[in-house]
Symmetry: C2
Subunit: 437 residues, 2 copies
């Protein structure tokens, strides 16, 4: 008999079905005896009355792999609207040890319990609510690709093994490469810019490495970065691109992950047609006035300001996402383009969403002479060195005006669901203290 | 006036158009003067007769960024079937140095010229024939995702930073992780198996690292691996899955990359409905008979045998892809499942395609006791050590029969196009001698 999924039992009501999966819950204490079986379709309840069937499950624990053949019966109160009666159970793989965590109840995500959550991740992911996070992550990633491909972007893969640190030497992992030193890429920045000279519009979605020396709720040493770059674009067009991308991703996830979002009571974010843009000076001024904490001399937003301005956006501007523009040159990268009318400000936009920066974009300096000057002045870099010369050559031989963004996958999923720590949205998170499982 | 792409000029014949892109070719030597402009749509020819327009291009080299406004005129012999007449040219970004390579002619892929090819990769990719390789790569990757998602697989991301080597200690990169030692993942093997306990069917497409100490035509230190794993599957079903996946990928690429495949005169591979499976013993015997070279005592296929059996498959079995089955246990991994009737053979299948192994699949030992025994016996591993204990816990608490595969993206693209070296199908290849650009 062919196996069907738990989710399809309802469609077979009145007939006989075979399901295979894991024992998810067992309640064989007299009265109404039942078990719950989990498969990739979800859960199905199996009413077990026959003593010989009950005996088969004696001493077996959650996780036991079973096949169950029986009658599909409509039952409104059961998950999926149907259950299986008069089962013949076959134990395929017995589990006799009790699992270290209960997987049929919501697992705690309190800050003090996160280590337990991650230590038990391999089994904890068998909890449907945990799974939901990563179903949402998969669809979020798919949405980014769908959007970018629809906008004529070509996907590429840049190397993560590099000869030297590119964007700055501090937070870089070093490794032994056949006796030489190599580093792990902190972003696909240089490569995606080179690809503008090739495809005009290019993106990659790949792991990125930062030797972040502190354990915070927003940083990890390894994360998935959506790196995109566009030739022949203006700054307002770049803002529109990010804005449209966010709307597309949110709509896609709310269309494809209804059940999963419901498990987390995730509310669809309020977004205006275009994400409103505020300058850093405006935000400092609004925040300082509202809170009494003076941030007007900060080069960046302080974390509480990021939270506050998103609240402000939601209440006053009808958007839970906000752009921060006009970043001070003192905080800029050498490849950023400065504003024509304000040469001490960079044409950069950070996208804040529900209190956290999820993406950062900017126009890039595309003029060879100017770029070389900024590399020397702002980064102390040598344009002839092997870390820069290939990158610089793309400009020497013609690069159009261009801009792009880096977007964090896990932070986006964190904020879509309403989690408090980016690691909760990461399958196997890595930070200074954690390298396992 | 709004910019259009070169590919759309034909649709505007009779009207005025604006294109923006790179000077790709310049022929201003009297008679019929023209330039060719490249953008993400391809190439468009611009006939330049006006002396003042010709003067603007004086001293400018290929790569110069231009905008060109003029009349769209039908011209059968021009690329795209149309060209631009009476242009007004604006030089957006002048390039005055001659590029180190000619990008409007096919670049040499001869083995002795590959270093030149890769040293000049940043500019060489502006050649349309080189671009074509990576358009095909992008669609190949998309095809894998499309196929696997259609088969109910959930995409995930496993960490590439690990506490210790997993599958074997030799070819692993080590790095300094805040004073501790970490390694780079050689595959997503353990994680994808753990994910069977979660999603039943899961895949990731991510970089993989091997400290391969030799420079060959088939190995790199960093490559993109399609890692997939399936619960509740049998070995014949696994063969079917790989077979269907290959057919889907080939069909998708031949549908979406017509122009690009034509540039390489790539022939659509001959494939039978199912990829034919031969045991290693059968192949050794066929090869030894046909060539006189005795390989019957080899634990693996020798490279020439891989090439030969694919030729044999094409001629005798109507398929340019062949499965190799029944691998000797002596060459197996500890997580492989052995055959019930031949315990010295593993239930493994390598997928050979046009002379090279592009994928390797196997059934995995899913029984906890048996797996622990094989780990100790075949790999000398300690199931309590941090490198294995999380992996092993998935089995302790219930894993169904399962199998899966690892599939190399670049090798697949290499063989689709008919290239001779996997590095030719890699944007910025990495091997023992190459860490740049």
């Amino acid at each position: 008999m062919e196996r069907i999924l738990s989710a399809d039992v309802k469609a077979h009501v009145g007939g006989e079905v075979l399901v295979r999966g894991w024992l998810h819950k067992k309640r064989l204490i007299g009265g109404i005896n039942f078990i719950v079986v989990r498969d990739r379709g979800g859960l199905v309840q199996v009413v077990v009355q026959d003593e010989s069937e009950i005996a088969k499950l004696q001493g077996l624990q959650v996780g036991t792999v079973l096949s169950v053949q029986g009658q599909a019966v409509a039952e409104e109160r059961a998950p999926g609207g149907a259950e299986i009666h008069q089962p013949k159970i076959t134990v395929e793989v017995p589990v006799t040890d009790e699992p270290p965590i209960e997987i049929d109840k919501p697992l705690s995500h309190k800050p003090e319990n996160l280590d337990t959550l991650f230590d038990n991740r391999v089994l904890g992911l068998r909890n449907l609510r945990e799974q939901a996070i990563f179903k949402i992550q998969a669809e979020t990633k798919e949405a980014f690709r769908k959007f970018l491909r629809s906008q004529d972007f070509t996907e590429f893969n840049s190397p993560k093994l590099l000869a030297g640190a590119t964007e700055g030497g501090a937070e870089v992992f070093k490794l032994d490469y056949f006796g030489k030193e190599a580093t792990l890429a902190q972003s696909g920045q240089f490569y995606k810019q080179m690809m503008v000279g090739v495809f005009e519009r290019a993106f990659e979605i790949n792991p990125t490495y930062r030797a972040e020396p502190s354990a915070t709720t927003r940083h990890m040493t390894e994360f998935i970065h959506i790196d995109a770059e566009v030739g022949f674009i203006t700054f307002p067009e770049l803002l529109d691109l990010l804005s449209n991308c966010l709307s597309f991703v949110i709509d896609h996830v709310w269309e494809t992950c209804k059940t999963e979002l419901k498990m987390w009571q995730a509310e669809k974010p309020k977004l205006s047609a275009k994400v409103p843009a505020l300058t850093m000076t405006e935000i400092h001024s609004l925040y300082s006035k509202a809170t009494g904490t003076d941030t007007t001399n900060e080069l960046d937003l302080i974390p509480d300001e990021e939270r506050w301005i998103c609240e402000y956006g939601k209440k006053e501007l009808g958007s839970e996402a906000v752009f921060v523009t006009e970043w001070p040159k003192a905080d800029a990268k050498f490849y950023h383009k400065m504003m024509e009318d304000k040469p001490d400000k960079a044409k950069r936009c950070d996208l804040l969403f529900r209190g956290v920066e999820i993406a950062t974009g900017s126009m890039r300096e595309h003029r060879y002479d100017k770029l070389v000057a900024q590399l020397k002045e702002m980064a102390g870099g040598d344009p002839e060195s092997s870390g820069f010369k290939y990158y610089i050559s793309a400009f020497k031989y013609g690069m159009p005006p261009h801009g792009g963004f880096g977007w964090g996958l896990e932070r986006t999923v964190e904020k879509i669901i309403g989690l408090a720590n980016v690691k909760e949205a990461t399958l196997f998170p890595r930070d200074i203290n954690r390298l396992a499982p």
